[in-house]
Subunit: 342 residues, 2 copies
Amino acid sequence: MRDVALEAKVSLKTVSRVVNGESSVAPVTTKQVQKAISRLGYLRNEHARALRQQRVLQMLGLVTEDVSNPFYSAIARGVEEEVRDRGLLVVAGSSDEDPARERALLEMLCEQRVAGLLVVPTRGDHGFLAPEIGHGTAVVFVDRPPDNLGADTVLLDNFGGARSGVEHLLSYGHRRVGFVGDLPDIYTTAERLRGYEVALADAGIDAGHAPVRLGCHDSRSAAAAVRELLELPDPPTALFACNNRITFGALQCFGAMSRPVALVGFDDFELAPLLSPPVTVVSYDQAEVGRRAARLVCDRIDGMNGPPRKSVIPTTVVARGSGELKARQVAAPRRRPARTRG
Amino acid sequence: MRDVALEAKVSLKTVSRVVNGESSVAPVTTKQVQKAISRLGYLRNEHARALRQQRVLQMLGLVTEDVSNPFYSAIARGVEEEVRDRGLLVVAGSSDEDPARERALLEMLCEQRVAGLLVVPTRGDHGFLAPEIGHGTAVVFVDRPPDNLGADTVLLDNFGGARSGVEHLLSYGHRRVGFVGDLPDIYTTAERLRGYEVALADAGIDAGHAPVRLGCHDSRSAAAAVRELLELPDPPTALFACNNRITFGALQCFGAMSRPVALVGFDDFELAPLLSPPVTVVSYDQAEVGRRAARLVCDRIDGMNGPPRKSVIPTTVVARGSGELKARQVAAPRRRPARTRG
DNA sequence: TTGAAAGCGCTACCAA
DNA sequence: TTGGTAGCGCTTTCAA
């Protein structure tokens, strides 16, 4: 900026005024300065601006489990759409469900003085964010509530969605409905499992002895778990898949079977209508999760005070075929012996 | 930091030394300072650091067409993995193929003084980046080369991949192979179309009259284009889909047909093996695109000079079923009249 | 081992 | 309409 001032033969302050589009500059001077700017390829330094103005960076931090998982990248997209007009950029990082990595990311983002933070929290305590929130950083928790911390939160209707999905299966005559999910210490898994159990209980089915497999974090392990369930002495005729990865695992497993059992999965995905049978899912507006979180965080940036707010995104069952197979249509699976015994 | 100094009853400089882990501080002093830091919840200000040190922000900017497209989010993931250990964060933005929006994003990122820029360029001139590159910003172009600018580039083997994919189809006896793609002013489309044409020409087929449909940017329009091709008087018995969106469109269209034509698509996707028939694709390591681009940009950040480099990611044909239908197996499609005529 | 002072690039404030 | 000066929070340099 100093160089520009020299080049244009005006004062530093005048250049500053031109760069910031202040009105009180003579058109001739403005021209001169702009010429000097483009001659020198000058670009104003946001650090110095932010420092002087006691401002934060025009960025939002977004920490999810994995930026390449479609669920999270849809959220990222929603956030971006919502804050585009405010000139905010989005810094996205993947925690890989590792609390240490998540904390490292969040602390880096705080040091960079981002305007706000959107977090899909891993398990464990997030109390370390309390001082930041105290210092004015806007923090919103997404998809899972924070442990040990009061902060704005956007959640899905996990319980209601899972319950409706399972009820949907029950309404087609199934009595033996399996559940496959990730670790139950993940909030969404626990809530969906609860929805499943309540749906069973309401139908007079003993949820205590229901065919449940947990701890599946990828489609491979989910496929193995599904196979296990289908090889039980009294195998389920229908399956509830707790998230998109589990659904993919179940589909992998079905690929090897002559006839699939009924299936409803939590999370919609682009190719669901193209599979055979097309996959019935518990669906919701994924980008809206991001948009709503961004709105909450912007409110706080704009100075809104008050107690933590909670926003819940509704879900709907989208029937496509896989969830409408009737219990009596589903063949009692051929009792294939496990490979090791074969 | 001043407050911490007062609280710990030491000088500003001593606090700075502790914060930066410099060795020349007495252990007792260090303890005191650390206590004061945690009491006050102090966090150092990266703006002031960057300003004083004439440093750039510890961030990489990544501008793609759409962060929620799996192809681009896989790249983002690759970039993140590669730079994680260097403590770099990734700011990701979507251009939506709009040159103005892309330019706005890139200029914001430059103003924020990011350490480097990774760009999947839209059509149009990128000469406006030349001064930035001159000022030392590391820029790498990804997936498409820059117009009118010398810069490091990571590309796929678009030509070779498409050619192999089409040759694969030809080897199953097809003589009438369709091509559906996006606008040909997108570099990847043009290269893949060229690969298609060369493969046809090498097989003695007149590429000039081949069934080609371009300008499809989403799966909807791709599905319409595929339908058009299949309703031609002399319809193709095989189809080459120019990218993942086109492939999805073709699959949508096939869903309504009794028997699909042979299909090979550029870009692999998670559910490809689960469709019926499983989808044969031209595949490559998506995350490696991001990793390699990140390596190039880091080299430049580390001061490497020299002429622009180009890195080409190899592709392979992954045969799964849809691309191995023989020409004589594919039924001459029933000549369904167009809806308006029906 | 510790501290004082200068200055990074910019804008707020006051003066002309 | 313009310009000078101070200072944002930090690190660098030099001195004690």
